[in-house]
Amino acid sequence: MGNVFDALYDVLFQPKIAMKMIAEQKKISQAVIVFFLSLVIPLWALYFGMQDVGMSAMVPFVIGFKIVSSMLMWFMGAAVWHLIAEFLGGRGTGVGLFTTLGFAQFPQVFIVPLWVIAALLPVSLKSIMMAIAALTIFSWSFFLTITAIKEVYEFSTAKAMLVMITPILVILVVCAIAFTFIGSAVTQMPMWL
């Protein structure tokens, strides 16, 4: 896997081998380029999609939110998942995971041609096609993320999924506890009407 073209091809067609190689070689600069391409290209589609449905006022907010949240998810996701993977006995490196996660976003660029196809379809099929396209891309990226965790830490699929969903489970538990306390506090407060 000499250059970024080979890496991208392998990510699409031989993800298992690709993720293992990327984690070993740790080519961060390539991962950064792929990540930003995978972020900017779908944003282009999003921009025109929002203009089309008359949501121009929301464009800066949504695009700004998408950029910031994607970058935070990449950095913080890699950090948190690496910590959990180490707790579960994984032997990979944080930089390896960070690099593979950058490449795992690559399928998102396919949202653009898929939305163009959807735009050419009759109105009745347009929204269904767009939903199917979005779901397919999300599933593909999800699969690549699981593969990345598996290959970086030499985990089974079940263990890799556990690493991935643990932060979500923790957030849900914390929210449930917080809401329980806030709920009991609110019922104690005097009402000002």
Partner: protein, 316 residues
Amino acid sequence: MYKKSVIIVIGIVILLSLIGLAFHGLGAKNKGKVSQSDKIGIIYVDGVIIGGRGQSSVLMEQGGTDQIIKQIHQARDDASVKAVVLRVNSPGGSAAASQEVGEELKKLRAQGKIVVTSMGDVAASGGYWLAACTDKIYANPTTMTGSIGVYMPYANWEELYKKVGIYQEKIKSGPHKDILSPERQMTDAEREIIQVMVDDIYNQFVDVVAQGRKMDKEQVKKLADGRIYTGNQAKQLGLVDELGNMYDAIDGAGQLAGIEGKPTIKEFGKTSPWNMVFGPSEKISTLLEQFLFQKAANQLNLGVPLEAAPEKWQVK
């Protein structure tokens, strides 16, 4: 080499898709519209007309005539905006703030843009001042308008303060420095000073109406005794041009600007998502005011009306 070719083909497909999407997006934007260069801007004047920046927060400002003037400047600088509809729903406000906005509307007209007023529930006093500065006025038959006049509120709490045991002493640089103070009777000389000022502002108001409505000044003075009129009455008296709602006003503005077909609307000062998240919340501030007022009323319980605080000049 094979892998590189596959990725390059994918890249070309994505690039072509991006270009296609851009053209599709632009096509959809233009669909059913006359032209991107023919727009009618809408500027809203809601509530009491007060100068300044209004409510401000970390990222946003809203309310206050500074925002309205900013929107007028945006409409002036936007070449695609051929006409502006001023949607007025205001009982009036400060004379200076009304005058400031009125002058900006005149400058906007001088730039070649058509400005049409659409009156909502109320467009009285300062609200009518603004309307008088526009090319054409639309009102609903039941709109409350008119109220052309000026008043300066003054309250004398001297007797009450004596009963409560409050005595305020002032060291003044001149005899009229504490004019309109609520803790003493106004002198005849001060009353004369204030009356002259009120008359001066009233004459300026009458001039604006006479000039804007192309009416004789004496004729305006007959109508400008401070009374309010319905939109229907105002139309008969020549204070309003047409009876109709905002959409009639938009159509009228389009005709005056020579826009053919359905005009494209551009709303100025529209609430953005940033405003929704970080902007000042009217509901929250109202609730806070109610809460603080309730607290103050409960804790102080002095019996002194809060209205004893000095009030600003108001147009009525």
